[in-house]
């Protein structure tokens, strides 16, 4: 039971991270590799807000959400927009976002130094619950609730709102969308902002969950995030959610039933098997190549 909960908690953070990742990919067909840097940056900024600003953990979250959004706009403006009309825009964006990620991490190192940072002692409420013999902290419950709320909110936004309709139109065919009067640049910027805001919240929640923020935390989760969105089906939001939870649970149960040394082998092996059986991912649509 405890292991199940452990898997769900860590999996929900993977999912939140991956959903931001996959949003940009699904709608704009771009892989934003600065996303992990946003994840790390927001964790440090969140700690700073709590430590210096004297905010409570939960008050810092909306601010980090906004911070992430702004960072997303910056990433779009610097790394993607100048290159969007080039014939190799996919790879150009990929590379320039890697460069931007490197610069972000270097800025973090300059600002915060290379050491591990933690929330000041006493930032966390002590409340603990006993759920069917498993220990759950209030913090973990809130993390899960926030992750789920954000994911539900995002799904609602994409399927029901005007902005969401615009996004889907752009995803379908940017040129056609433009012809129909959709402001593609605005939609693109909004997508990056939302994506990064989600990544930022994921970063703070991860830092809260383990009370640790390291410069390398983004690259540690990058591979997992990529695995999650591939397994979920590139660009599929519910797929990223399921993929995230699946990876979290796979890691936890690998520890329990196989052995801790085999954790990554089992977790990634499982993803590999899923891909062999369903190359398009769990919820991905099979693409038909038309000649």
């Amino acid at each position: 039971m405890q292991q199940l909960l452990n898997g769900i908690f860590i999996g929900s953070i993977y999912a939140l991270f991956a959903i931001g990742f996959t949003l940009v990919f699904g709608i704009l067909d771009r892989l934003n590799l600065a996303h992990p840097a946003v994840f790390a940056a927001s964790a440090f900024v969140g700690i700073e807000l709590v430590e210096r600003g004297g905010l409570s953990l939960w008050a810092a979250l909306p601010l980090v959400f906004v911070f992430g959004g702004v960072l997303g706009l910056v990433i779009e403006r610097l790394a993607f927009r100048p290159l969007k009309n080039r014939p190799d825009a996919h790879f150009a964006g990929l590379i320039s976002s890697i460069a931007l990620a490197g610069m972000l991490i270097a800025l973090l190192q300059w600002r915060y130094g290379p050491d591990t940072r933690r929330f000041p002692p006493g930032s966390f409420p002590d409340t603990r619950y006993d759920v069917a013999g498993a220990q759950v902290t209030l913090v973990q419950v809130v993390i899960l609730a926030i992750s789920l709320a954000l994911m539900v909110g995002l799904t609602y936004m994409v399927t029901r709102t005007r902005l969401g309709r615009g996004m889907r139109a752009v995803a379908e065919n940017p040129t056609a969308a433009r012809v129909l009067g959709v402001n593609v640049d605005r939609i693109t910027a909004a997508t990056f902002a939302i994506s990064s805001a989600l990544g930022a919240v994921a970063g703070v929640l991860f830092a809260i969950n383990v009370n640790t923020a390291q410069l390398g935390m983004g690259s540690a989760i990058e591979l997992k995030g990529l695995a999650v969105i591939i397994v979920g089906g590139m660009g599929s939001l519910p797929g990223a959610l399921i993929g995230g939870l699946l990876l979290g649970l796979a890691e936890v149960f690998a520890v329990q039933y196989v052995g801790s040394s085999w954790r990554d082998v089992i977790a990634f092996g499982l993803l590999f098997v899923i891909l062999l059986l369903r190359p398009q991912g769990l919820l991905g649509a099979r693409k038909v190549r038309e000649v």
């Binding site: 405890q2 292991q3 452990n6 898997g7 908690f9 860590i10 130094g113 290379p114 050491d115 591990t116 933690r118 002692p121 006493g122 603990r128 220990q135 902290t137 969950n209 383990v210 009370n211 640790t212 390291q214 390398g216 935390m217 540690a220 890691e251 936890v252 520890v255 329990q256 052995g259 801790s260 040394s261």
Partner: protein, 394 residues
């Protein structure tokens, strides 16, 4: 980061305790005629005077994962260098360089120091860096004094490699014996990070000591040194209802591990390796650190005169209490001074001979000797975290 401490040769003899020449160790060549150039001097022990500056290189991890250790070491070395400068007679040119907790950078720095012709290299901070960089000094015939390397096999690299840090193999059996006696351990869960030379050799020492004490290991769990979420492992550990957790990991892993263990309701003692021996554990893990048991090379509450003086001087200089890394670094440079003065010569060859002959020297670590394997011999101490501080487990 580059800190250079050039000490001025002062003729006045400062009243520093450590300089007394330990009698009967080594023949030393009388007035130090064995050495050549300006690194040989006149007199022995306290009266030893060497014309030239003795170049000493130190490779520490001042940034990166091990930065908290390196910073302490830097303070210890600089304090010792300042005191030795006051004492006069022998002048040390101590250059401290940062390996960024990266063994490759360590190799580069060792190369550089060897090329620069230093008499001795202190460091590097981590054992896995030492394994890779010490052979460079060995090949070049420059003695190395490790001040925090505790993994097995470091001194097997060659006869120029010494250390003043007690190995985990020396500390851990004492820790386990004491803990078994104190807590009546019968079965424990062992956790260690298996991608680091230091924690791996710590694990082996734990496993051997537990077997020797007849404590059953119900489960052995591994993690990566970069892991921060240990809940799955800890839940697994909890399932076998152990009397204690035995953990070999670095401080970066120790803090979240201990915090999450308490969060999950694991209230048994957590016995840690040398990596846990860091005041940051209490600063960052807070109450969760209570009941952590750590074997250590340095007894901070020891009342030998060297230690009391060191505590007071360190506090006066930095406004903080030293940790073991600072103490070992401080003792390291003092031992180098001892070795230089015993033969009154500071060239690499004489230093190598003199270091090997060190016996029963009073230091902040207690009576200190170097054994035939060039490893440190001195008493260890077993501590437990109580009310936010390390106290001797009794």
């Amino acid at each position: 980061m580059r800190a250079k401490l050039s000490t001025v040769a002062a003729a006045t003899a400062a009243a520093f305790v450590l300089a007394s020449c330990s009698s009967g160790d080594g023949d030393g060549g009388g007035g130090g005629q064995a050495a050549s150039g300006d690194l040989a001097g006149e007199g022995t022990g306290e009266s030893c005077t060497i014309e030239g500056e003795v170049p000493i290189g130190a490779v520490l991890s001042l940034t990166g994962a091990a930065a908290s250790y390196g910073e302490s070491q830097q303070r210890g070395l600089e304090l010792a260098a300042a005191q030795l400068a006051e004492q006069g007679g022998v002048t040390y040119d101590l250059t401290i360089e940062d390996d960024q907790t990266d063994p490759r950078q360590g190799i580069t720095l060792f190369d550089q120091f060897v090329t620069d012709g230093v008499s001795l290299i202190i460091g590097p901070t981590l054992s896995n860096a030492a394994v890779q960089s010490d052979p460079i000094a060995q090949e070049a015939g420059v003695p190395v004094l490790g001040i925090s390397n505790t993994a097995a096999g470091i001194t097997d690299i060659g006869d120029y490699v010494f250390r003043n840090s007690l190995t985990e193999q020396a500390v851990i059996p004492q820790t386990i014996a004491k803990a078994t006696e104190e807590f009546g351990l019968q079965n424990v869960v062992v956790m260690y990070s298996n991608d680091d030379a230091f924690t791996e050799s710590g694990y082996e020492a734990f496993a051997a000591a537990l077997e020797a004490e007849g404590v059953e290991v119900s489960e052995t769990l591994t993690f990566s040194k970069s892991d921060t979420d240990f809940r799955a492992l800890l839940t697994q550990a909890q399932a076998s209802d152990p009397d204690a957790l035995v953990v070999s990991g670095l401080i970066e892993a120790a803090i979240p591990l201990v915090t999450q263990a308490r969060e999950l309701g694991i209230d048994v003692p957590i016995i840690g390796g040398n990596g846990f021996n860091n005041p940051r554990l209490m600063a960052d893990a807070g109450e969760a650190a209570e009941g952590v048991v750590v074997g250590a090379a340095w007894n901070s509450s020891s009342d030998n005169p060297e230690n009391t003086a060191f505590l007071a001087d360190f506090e006066a200089e930095y406004g903080a209490q030293p940790d073991q890394f600072a103490a070992q670094a401080y003792a390291g440079l003092m031992l180098v001074d001892e070795a230089v003065r015993s033969g009154c010569a500071a060239d690499p060859e004489s230093l190598k001979e003199a270091l090997g002959d060190i016996e029963d020297v009073p230091t902040v670590l207690g009576e200190f000797s170097i054994d035939e394997n060039r490893d440190a011999v001195h008493p260890a101490v077993v501590q437990v975290v109580q009310d936010g501080a390390f106290t001797v487990l009794e």
